[in-house]
């Protein structure tokens, strides 16, 4: 995993919430049934916890997880954000609602059956 320039060499204090990265299986150690493209890459793990000691981003460190377990790995991020979102509306989906209400016709449509706007 690439460490952003700004994060690299940053000093991180003991107790900060961080993410560590480690290689579980190297390319030659992968399971025999794994397809060729996956054979060429390692099996990697990312996990979060509280840093046990002061360190620099990129250092091998120990963390204590939320369950109190110790895990070793390379310090890759400090309190990383969740990167997912709702993203932008997708144009291909935008008109589906209007099309379906058009198919039903406003009067017959359920939302106008009882007491709604005529």
């Amino acid at each position: 995993m690439n460490v952003p320039e700004s994060e690299n060499k940053r000093r991180v204090r003991s107790g900060e919430y961080v993410q560590v990265h480690s290689i579980i299986l190297k390319p030659g150690e992968r399971a025999p049934q794994v397809p060729e493209d996956t054979q060429k890459v390692p099996l990697e793990l990312r996990i979060k916890g509280y840093l046990d000691h002061d360190a620099l981003v990129g250092d091998e460190v120990t963390i204590t997880t939320v369950l109190g377990r110790k895990v070793r790995g390379r310090l890759v991020a400090v309190n990383p954000p969740y990167p997912h979102s709702f993203a932008r509306p997708v144009p291909e989906l935008l008109h589906i609602g209007e099309e379906l209400w058009g198919l039903l016709g406003a009067r017959e449509a359920g939302r106008n059956k009882e007491g709604g706007e005529p």
Partner: protein, 476 residues
């Protein structure tokens, strides 16, 4: 001497690790080279329907609303032949504590772990089940570890899986996020050994017993609402537990003639363990990549004997395309005011096609919904697909190509189901069973078991075995 931790060492110990992590003596149910006493296992280590209801009541699971989709039913009738277009109902399973029917499965596993004195629970899952186990563990005060397949080798994560990881962390779980590969199971086994936690597998009798209440509620509540049992229940199918538990619950409710239809998203052609294919799919579960292998060989799971045996229970198996599911997700929001996660709507897409073939006085029930949210949403998932180079356009969904093109229908009449041949699946199951028997003598008991497990007949099994022997696929 400390036991070795290499991949081969740990995999060699898998049976022992799994046995001590679920507390079930699976061997006592074994009957032959292939056969085992399935109903005996379900009775002895599962729980009765009343017990499961009581367990689930303690953690506010189940008794979700059954909702009639009046506007969608009306759309279906407009596009159907005269007299056709069944009423469509949906069981709003997103009303469970963590937002999906998976709470039902997790509730019984976590209860059982606590009762047996385990200090915590572990589950290997990239789906809603992780959040469900974490949520139930929080309610019962147990520790929880979730192991997820999250990223490709470039560190890109499926938005849907990232969201599920976030939810697990929100409920206090320790989340292990791995890159693509079946060796997730190796990491899982090592964690079971290290921690002595309970394996909250999706495939134990506890987990399947937890879904029986869903089938039971669907049967009894449909009767109360419409005056008849469901004519068909559509179940999104991946690992097989949803089909198995729902069908068993329907039978317990007295539904003798309800057709159980399994539905999966068609991802044929994509390799589930491929680093490059991983992010070329927009559905991370409910798809054929799990649905077909788990139906044609259930005993590939994280327990020695899988309690989820979908071929026993499905009357029909259909697929729909990713574009059709995104379309009906939008339909559900706009016409019914229910914004629900896309993957759980796989069965709704199938229901729209199936209801068109059925009479107006018949009732079809979609037995789940799931929560929606950042990442787990058509916009997020389609935007990610586009970034991965997938073509997205409106058109005829038959032009869908998994991993290359997602086609959003132009009109609801373009929603179709594709039938998967159950006869082919049964033959494939029998071939897999024989190959796992590794040439050991097949007894009459084994043949009877294969007939039960494939919902076929002794005659069909014997004929299939002869065909496979003639073709040289299995030894005579």
């Amino acid at each position: 001497m400390m036991p070795g931790t290499s991949y081969a060492d740990v995999m060699a110990r898998r049976q022992d690790i799994m046995r001590s992590a679920v507390g079930i003596d699976y061997e006592k149910f074994e009957l032959g080279a292939i056969a085992f006493d399935y109903e005996g296992m379900m009775d002895e280590v599962g729980y009765t329907l009343d017990e499961v209801h009581a367990i689930q009541e303690e953690t506010s699971v189940g008794r979700t609303p059954l909702v009639e989709l009046r506007n969608i039913t009306e759309v279906v009738r407009r596009i159907s032949a005269p007299g056709k277009g069944a009423r469509i109902l949906v069981k709003d399973e997103s009303a469970n504590p963590s937002g999906s029917f998976k709470d039902r499965r997790a509730s019984v596993s976590v209860y059982c772990a606590k009762k047996k004195g385990y200090p915590g629970v572990i589950a290997a899952t990239s789906g809603n089940y992780g959040a469900a186990v974490a949520s139930q563990a929080a309610k019962r005060g147990l520790k929880c570890i979730i192991v997820q397949e999250t990223y490709d080798s470039k560190g890109r994560g499926q938005p849907e899986i990232i969201e599920k990881g976030r939810a697990c962390e929100a409920y206090g779980a320790e989340v292990h996020q791995l890159t693509v590969g079946p060796e997730l199971f190796y990491v899982f086994l090592r964690l079971l050994e290290e921690t002595g936690f309970f394996n909250a597998s999706l495939y134990t009798p506890f987990s399947v017993a937890g879904i029986e209440t869903l089938g039971y509620e669907v049967g009894t509540e449909t009767l109360r609402m419409t005056g008849r049992f469901p004519d068909a229940v559509i179940v999104t199918h991946a690992g097989g537990g949803n089909v198995t538990g729902t069908a068993r619950g329907l039978r317990k409710a007295g539904c003798r003639h309800t057709q159980v239809i399994a539905a999966s998203v068609d991802l044929l052609g994509l390799h589930m363990a491929s680093d490059t294919d991983f992010n070329r799919k927009s559905f991370t579960t409910g798809h054929t990549g799990f649905g077909i292998p788990f139906a044609t060989w259930p005993d590939r799971a994280d327990v020695p004997r899988n309690a989820a045996r979908p071929l026993r229970y499905m009357d029909r198996y259909v697929t729909v395309t990713q574009g059709e599911v995104f379309y009906v997700t939008e339909m559900l929001a706009k016409l019914e005011g229910m914004e629900r996660g896309p993957a759980g709507n796989t069965s709704l897409a199938a229901a729209i096609a199936v209801a068109r073939e059925m009479d107006r006085d018949q009732v079809v029930v979609v037995q789940e919904t799931e929560y929606t949210g950042a990442g787990k949403h058509p916009y997020a998932q389609l935007s990610f697909a586009r970034e991965m180079g997938i073509e997205i356009r409106r058109g005829d969904p038959r032009e869908n190509v998994p991993g290359k093109r997602i086609v959003i229908p132009l009109h609801p009449s373009q929603i179709h189901v594709k039938d998967v041949s159950l006869a082919d699946m049964r033959r494939s199951y029998i071939r897999n069973a024989l190959s796992c028997a590794k040439g050991r003598q097949i007894s009459a008991e084994d043949v009877r078991f294969l007939a039960d497990d494939t919902n076929s007949t002794v005659g069909f099994v014997e004929e299939t075995i002869r065909e496979l022997q003639r073709g040289g696929e299995v030894p005579e």
